[in-house]
């Protein structure tokens, strides 16, 4: 990977972190489009509690942190880094599996070629 690509990716990550940490506390707390429609159309009460509503990160906060800005911002930082980690793991694994499959096909071809 070229150095300027690394710089580009690093800068992108820093901007993402800055948005999640410093801008997210300013986000609108109003119900989102679906929540609003559910209220107006009268099906909001069919929603049930999230099974993981007790998660320490539930609703983009950190359990036990009283300062709302800090709580939201820190949960944003954790979320961005975790998403990055899961993303790298999944795409990395997909790439390895693809290479394995390609390698097996090459081996099969070599075998069938030498057998023939």
């Amino acid at each position: 990977m070229k150095t300027n690509t690394k710089i580009f990716l690093g800068a992108g990550l820093l901007i993402g972190i800055a948005l999640a940490v410093f801008v997210s506390p300013l986000a609108s707390g109003s119900p989102d489009g679906l929540e609003k429609v559910a209220e107006e159309e009268g099906f909001a009460d069919t929603a049930t509690d999230h099974r993981l509503a007790d998660s320490p990160l539930a609703d983009y906060g950190i359990e036990g942190v009283d300062d709302e800005n800090l709580s939201t911002g820190a949960s944003g930082l954790i979320g961005v880094l975790l998403t990055l980690g899961v993303g790298l793991a999944i795409f990395g694994a997909a790439r390895v599996l693809r290479n394995d499959e390609a390698g097996q096909r090459t081996e099969q071809r070599t075998e069938s070629a030498s057998a023939g």
């Binding site: 989102d32 489009g33 049930t48 999230h50 939201t72 979320g79 795409f91 070629a113």
Partner: protein, 234 residues
């Protein structure tokens, strides 16, 4: 638009779960074909960036907010297949750790927020790109409009699914009108944010934008990563 638990019956939740798992699985296989030392970390970054942008709810009307879906944005940046996987990863992390989007509704959310917006957004993007001049600003315009369209289309998809398997029987027309009306406004935000991000990336590193590969001269968009299978070997 994160669907909570309880809005849909079990059949619809399981059915969309199966469709989501199958489609994202195919998407990951297709995306894997292009993954290399640049696209792999870029795809991870796009997922992380969409997570950050989804935290930023913007006001759209009195007492209503919306946030980026990100399907169209991710599709333009890393391709529709990798893009839908990126947003699915975001939805997975949100449901599992942030209690955002029901666990039983994960399939619905992947269909509505990742798959439909990635396919619709990228489809509109390709259509516009083919008729617009071959310039960077056309890529920005096409991605913004594709993103704008993707959100009300997802709202239509929600309404259809709700009529088929919603927890309560409501007039399809009434739900559809309310969903599309609100999400056209959210779509405007989606389009503006998508255009802004694509514009910034295209300005600095157009070679990293999947949807701008056609601008590069002398470079094939996808050079096959596998050795060419020659029939002559047998």
């Amino acid at each position: 638009m994160h669907v909570p638990d309880g809005f849909f019956d079990a059949t619809t939740s399981i059915g969309t779960g199966a469709v989501a798992a199958g489609t994202v699985g195919v998407g990951l296989r297709k995306a894997a074909h292009d993954l290399n030392d640049r696209l792999t970390p870029l795809a991870g970054l796009v997922a992380a960036f969409v997570f950050a942008l989804q935290m930023l709810n913007f006001p759209v009307a009195s007492g209503t907010s919306g946030h980026l879906f990100g399907g169209a944005l991710a599709a333009v940046l890393v391709g529709p297949w990798a893009g839908m996987v990126c947003v699915s990863i975001v939805l997975f992390v949100q449901a599992l750790l942030f209690a955002d989007g029901g666990m039983s509704a994960l399939g619905l959310n992947v269909v509505l927020i990742a798959i439909v917006p990635a396919i619709v957004g990228y489809g509109v993007f390709l259509l516009l790109r083919s008729v617009l001049p071959k310039t960077r600003s056309s890529v920005v315009t096409a991605s913004g409009i594709g993103a704008f369209v993707s959100v009300p289309v997802a709202a239509v998809a929600f309404s259809v699914l709700f009529a088929a398997g919603g927890a309560v029987d409501l007039s399809f027309g009434s739900v559809l009108a309310a969903m599309v009306g609100t999400h056209v406004l959210i779509g405007v935000g989606e389009g503006l944010i998508t255009a802004a991000v694509v514009s910034a990336v295209v300005a600095s590193r157009p070679d990293l934008v999947h949807g701008a590969h056609h601008l590069a001269t002398g470079l094939a968009p996808n050079i096959a990563t596998e050795p060419i299978t020659s029939g002559a070997a047998s």
